[in-house]
């Protein structure tokens, strides 16, 4: 039998993707750490919160929660259940402008953080 043991293993397509994802995860973590350390994360959270209130998203969610509670009855609903039910609705209804603004802010932050390094 031919020995092909010395030939390096063909890189698996999935392996490559996994590797890339792993890098991405660590990158995401790094960005998060930098955001928290500098306090920018808090600012961004506050910004998002303000925007979501301004555009009425918070009120919409509140109404959605109320309706769900009305349907199920006050005694039968837990906070966890509400979170489970409302989260997809919430994520789907975030206005694009808010997403765009947030992305912009994070990009700017990364650029400035990279420059300072």
């Amino acid at each position: 039998m031919k020995h092909s043991v010395n030939r390096p293993p063909t890189p698996d397509k999935d392996d490559a993707a996994e590797g890339f994802e792993k890098d991405e995860v660590t990158l995401r973590e790094i960005i998060n750490v930098k955001l928290v350390e500098s306090g920018e994360k808090e600012n961004l959270m506050e910004l998002v919160r303000d925007r979501l209130v301004e555009c009425g998203w918070k009120d919409e969610m509140r109404i959605a929660c109320r309706e769900h509670v009305k349907k199920k009855g006050r005694k039968d609903v837990t906070v966890d259940e509400l979170i489970r039910v409302i989260t997809p609705k919430g994520r789907a209804s975030v206005p694009d402008s808010v997403k765009a603004e947030l992305l912009n802010r994070i990009q700017n932050f990364i650029v400035s953080a990279a420059l300072c390094v």
Partner: protein, 557 residues
């Protein structure tokens, strides 16, 4: 339970939380105080000093909702918190790291404890640079909005609470406060709650138009009920939520109506009328506004006064004599005989609903009954001008001018002079939240009789010539006084509608209730306000402080 929130119906703690409290009291909470960190927008989070980013001890995730166990301080995410409880017996209670809220892992639900919140709030106060007093003195509003330095907090009762977000957990609308029962005084408390939240009255007193420090009657040592009301308004809107005792007003009222100065249960409606009467007397005299009732500018009449038209027609020759009488409320007969009105029946058929129960009384039925053409009995013959002698006649009432605030009193207490007995009519009366009074206006009632003949109105138009726009006949309800129980030993409760939400005011206890509860109650006095008054009030309640400009609604009325 601390007195400051006695009117809030806190959810009962679960067994796990009660068990925890029994064993550890508030020590566990206090040990976390060092970990609470106040951030720039006033939010309190858990900040563990060494670890910057909290992670789940089971899966290392940091993006999900994280909880820190009260017992062992290990952090778990929402997916693993149940596992943590299962692996560690007794570790039931945790705190949401991001929000500083209690969570019961065993019940898989959020739980609430005022003592915990007290500790969190005291941290917020420290964060804002204010001195912290012991729990009982601090009445704070938990705000999740940024720039909390704008909102001041009560310490003692020196500052005014003005939360920016009215939908916050602990904030009830301004002015909502329980009234202590001083001995069968629920009849007084019920009426006071309705009056305190009547926009024209509220604005009148809060804008200082009857200031007890400047009142001439008081300085002369005379009794002045409007002054006592000034004290009550100030107390109700002070932001202090502990139940208030209107002892001064009770005492003053007793002095005016000595025959009613007992600790026995009185009639709420009687109290209402006598109170308004006293206000008119005092206001009229001190401000020299007293002319005749129709033109009186005192607050009682400005708010509640309307004009009734009474037409008495001779059944023989048809000539009618018309008289006008002012009113400050309308008492409606509640008789199972005045059941549904044709309007109700038609409405129901339209909506495809079941036909209205023929014997269930409705408010429109009562109003129809009030404005019906009534044949006066043979013993009530009146002198007819054109016939020249006493003739049988018929009488019909209608409303010539609607007041700003319409109080409809349902006559549930029947006193029979012949039988020397009294009884209470308990039948349920169906009433709407929105009421259109146009069918009961003189123009409509007389119009129905005579068609479009102009002479029937004696030159009156449909509107007051003084106002620029036609006064609306659309009313919205803002308070309901209910009576439950028997004649001698009943209880009065008031339901208030503020910014679209209903609140039950049962002496010292106030809670938010669902609409259905109010619809199904046994109404005794219904308080309606013209819709423009309600709309204006909505705006006013949204402001932080009632400015002088907003407090003078009559300028724009």
């Amino acid at each position: 339970m601390s007195a400051r929130i006695s009117f809030l119906k806190n959810p009962d703690p679960c067994n796990h939380l009660s068990g925890y409290k029994l064993r550890y009291g508030t020590d566990g909470y206090k040990s976390f105080q060092s970990l609470f960190s106040c951030f720039n927008d006033g939010r309190i989070k858990i900040k563990l000093r060494e670890i910057e980013i909290p992670r789940c001890s089971y899966c290392s995730v940091y993006q999900k909702r994280l909880y820190i166990c009260l017992f062992c301080r290990s952090i778990s995410c929402s997916s693993h918190i149940l596992l943590h409880t299962q692996l560690n017996k007794g570790h039931d209670i945790a705190i949401d790291v991001e929000r500083s809220e209690l969570y019961c892992c065993a019940c898989i639900d959020q739980v609430y404890d005022p003592e915990f919140d007290e500790i969190v709030v005291s941290k917020q106060l420290v964060g804002l640079g204010m001195s912290v007093k012991s729990g009982a003195d601090v009445v704070a509003v938990r705000s999740n909005k940024k720039r909390r330095l704008d909102s001041q907090l009560i310490i003692g009762s020196k500052f005014l609470v003005s939360p920016r977000d009215r939908r916050e957990k602990w904030s009830f609308p301004l002015g909502l406060r329980g009234l202590n029962n001083l001995g069968s005084t629920c009849f007084m408390n019920a009426v006071l709650q309705a009056l305190v939240h009547a926009p024209p009255l509220r604005n009148f007193w809060l804008s200082g138009q009857h200031n007890r420090d400047l009142c001439p009657r008081r300085t002369m040592g005379l009794l002045c009920l409007p002054c006592d009301l000034d004290v009550i308004f100030a107390a109700m809107f002070s932001g202090d939520r502990t139940p208030y005792s209107p002892a001064h007003l009770l005492h003053s009222w007793w002095q005016h109506s000595t025959n009613l100065a007992t600790y026995e249960q009185q009639d709420s409606h009687e109290f209402f009328i006598s109170l308004l009467d006293r206000i008119h007397e005092n206001e009229g005299k001190s401000k020299c506004l007293y002319q005749d009732h129709e033109e009186c500018q005192c607050i009682t009449h400005k708010a509640f006064s309307g004009l009734l038209r009474s037409d008495v027609t001779c059944t023989t020759c048809g000539s009618t004599s018309t008289t006008y009488d002012p009113f400050i409320d309308i008492s409606l007969t509640l008789d199972s005989a005045n059941g549904f009105s044709p309007a109700d029946c038609r409405k129901n058929r339209y909506n495809g609903g079941p036909s209205v129960n023929a014997t269930m009384p409705t408010l429109s039925g009562c109003l129809d009954f009030f404005t019906r053409s009534e044949k006066l009995g043979p013993d009530q013959k009146l002198n007819c001008q054109s016939c020249g002698e006493k003739r049988e006649s018929s009488k019909q009432m209608s409303i010539r001018r609607l007041p700003l605030l319409l109080c409809l009193h349902v006559k549930r207490f029947e006193h029979s002079l012949t039988r020397k007995t009294s009884r209470k009519i308990d039948s349920y009366l169906q009433y709407p939240f929105r009421l259109n009074m146009s069918p009961y206006l003189s123009s409509s009632i007389i119009g129905k009789r005579f068609g479009n003949r102009m002479f029937a109105f004696d030159g009156e138009g449909e509107y007051d010539s003084s106002s620029s726009s036609p006064p609306s006949a659309e009313f919205e309800i803002f308070a309901v006084v209910t009576h439950s129980g028997m004649l001698e030993s009943g209880h009065y409760v008031t339901y208030l509608r503020l910014k679209g939400l209903w609140y039950k005011c049962d002496d010292s206890w106030i809670n938010e209730v669902e609409e259905e509860v109010v619809r199904g109650c046994e109404c005794y006095m219904l308080f309606y306000a013209q819709e423009k008054v309600i709309q204006k009030a909505h705006k006013e309640l949204s402001y932080q402080v009632i400015s002088m400009a907003e407090a003078f609604p009559f300028a724009n009325c």
